[in-house]
């Protein structure tokens, strides 16, 4: 249906329909965020031999996050007197908007996709870079020492890991010859790229966890040293938007990993009768689970380890991967 709408000539009616579809999708994302937070708390709880939330909403704590959001909504919103007020208000929006904006290019199944951009991958990378500015703005505008330290650390970390992230993807682009995410999925009909580009997958996974500021790369908000990093001064719903941005990025990154390396909606051989969206969901949940698992397992890195790992290990490895791929491809073509 979306295919036909995309092919029709642009008109007001369709724009309105697009808006409805996007709003419905936004609701799905909010639902995902609600239950991803609960799942994370539950899984972490079980990994640490605890039970996790189990009071609000039955034995599984199904309404815990909903209650948390409602509490945040009616919480008093304080802006410090010394803070840079306009930037302080702008920062949560600047962090959240790109997180939602990147989702437009991700194809969820043959039929369920939004924009069919020829430069989908480049669009994703370019837009996701804006979030760094949002976080840096938050740290700066707070006029708080912890927040500024957290914001600067976050900016340094995010720009350092963006390089290996974008470079690891080039191997996939080389094999596909396209930046369109639909074509990248189509190219994985026989073999998912995780088998052809294992090094790229590992670099991408590590760098994406660093981009998401999750443990073991959670230095920007290291609770034990910086209190909460760039969002110390934020309270109530402004704070909730930073949390929301973080989890929407988790959704986006896990989707992108699924699309680039796990073959998106392509089924495992002989199981093609199961619809594509189910395959996408299964692979997506696997990636999210792995990220929670890593959080439950690994301790936080030191700042100097973090930087030298990004620049001295991941970057040369990503460069080597690009050229090995290109040379092997050249050799296969010439024989």
């Amino acid at each position: 249906m979306i295919d036909q709408m995309l092919a029709a000539s642009p008109n007001l009616m369709n724009t309105f329909l697009f808006f409805t579809i996007a709003a419905a999708f936004l609701m799905v994302i909010l639902g995902f965020v609600t239950y991803a937070i609960l799942a994370e708390r539950k899984v972490l709880g079980f990994m640490q031999m605890r039970v996790g939330p189990n009071r609000v909403g039955g034995r599984w704590g199904l309404l815990q996050t909903v209650a948390d959001v409602l509490k945040l909504l009616i919480k008093e919103d304080t802006i410090p007197k010394l803070a840079d007020r306009p930037l302080f208000i702008l920062a949560p929006v600047l962090a959240f908007t790109p997180a939602f904006l990147v989702l437009v290019v991700i194809p969820f199944s043959e039929n369920l996709k939004f924009a069919d951009l020829g430069i989908g991958l480049l669009y994703y990378i370019a837009i996701s870079g804006i979030t760094t500015i949002g976080i840096l703005t938050a740290g700066w505008a707070s006029n708080n020492k912890y927040a500024l330290l957290g914001g600067m650390r976050s900016a340094a970390q995010m720009i350092s890991y963006e390089i290996p992230l974008v470079m690891s993807v080039i191997g996939v682009v080389l094999l596909t010859g396209s930046l369109n995410l639909n074509e990248i999925v189509a190219a994985q009909e026989n073999w998912a790229f995780i088998f052809i580009q294992p090094v790229a997958f590992i670099i991408f996974l590590i760098a994406s966890i660093a981009e998401l500021n999750r443990t073991p790369f959670d230095l920007p908000e290291a609770e034990s040293e910086l209190v909460a990093g760039y969002h110390v001064e934020f309270s109530g719903f402004r704070w909730a938007f930073f949390m929301l941005a973080e989890y929407v990025y988790l959704f986006a990154m896990a989707s992108l990993t699924t699309v680039l390396f796990l073959g998106g909606w392509q089924p495992i051989p002989f199981l093609g009768f199961i619809p594509g969206i189910v395959w996408f969901a299964l692979k997506f949940i696997l990636i999210v689970f792995i990220m929670i698992w890593i959080r439950g397992t690994l301790p936080r890195l030191r700042a100097d380890q973090l930087m030298s790992f990004g620049w001295k290990v991941l970057l040369p490895l990503a460069l080597a991967n690009i050229f090995l791929t290109a040379i092997i491809k050249e050799l296969i073509n010439s024989f």
């Binding site: 929006v93 904006l101 110390v232 719903f237 100097d304």
Partner: protein
Amino acid sequence: MQDLYNVYQNSYLFVFVFLLLGILLPIVALTAGKLLRPNKPTPAKQTTYESGIEPFHQSWVQFNVRYYMFGLLFVIFDVETVFLYPWAVAYDKLGIFALIEMLIFMIMLVIGLIYAWKKKVLTWI
């Protein structure tokens, strides 16, 4: 051809709709919150948090030059990536000549990276 052009236009329309929603959600949520939440500011509430003590000085200070160095390195390698993407997309048509050319370009940047490495720019203190 007309179809492709329509897909192109509609795709960016979709991007615009997403942008609109991404900005609208914070505005709507914060406005709704404004009507619901209490607002009783006191001077004590509005001080900057500094682990309980009275905050001293501003925190808008000069920062370590190291961050600037990493920013510079980032720009260099990000621009390089911008060159790598079109090369990777068009690789099938360009062939061995472009591969060697890109290798030379890359080696020059790797020399830069090694130089920065030896100059201890990459070590974080």
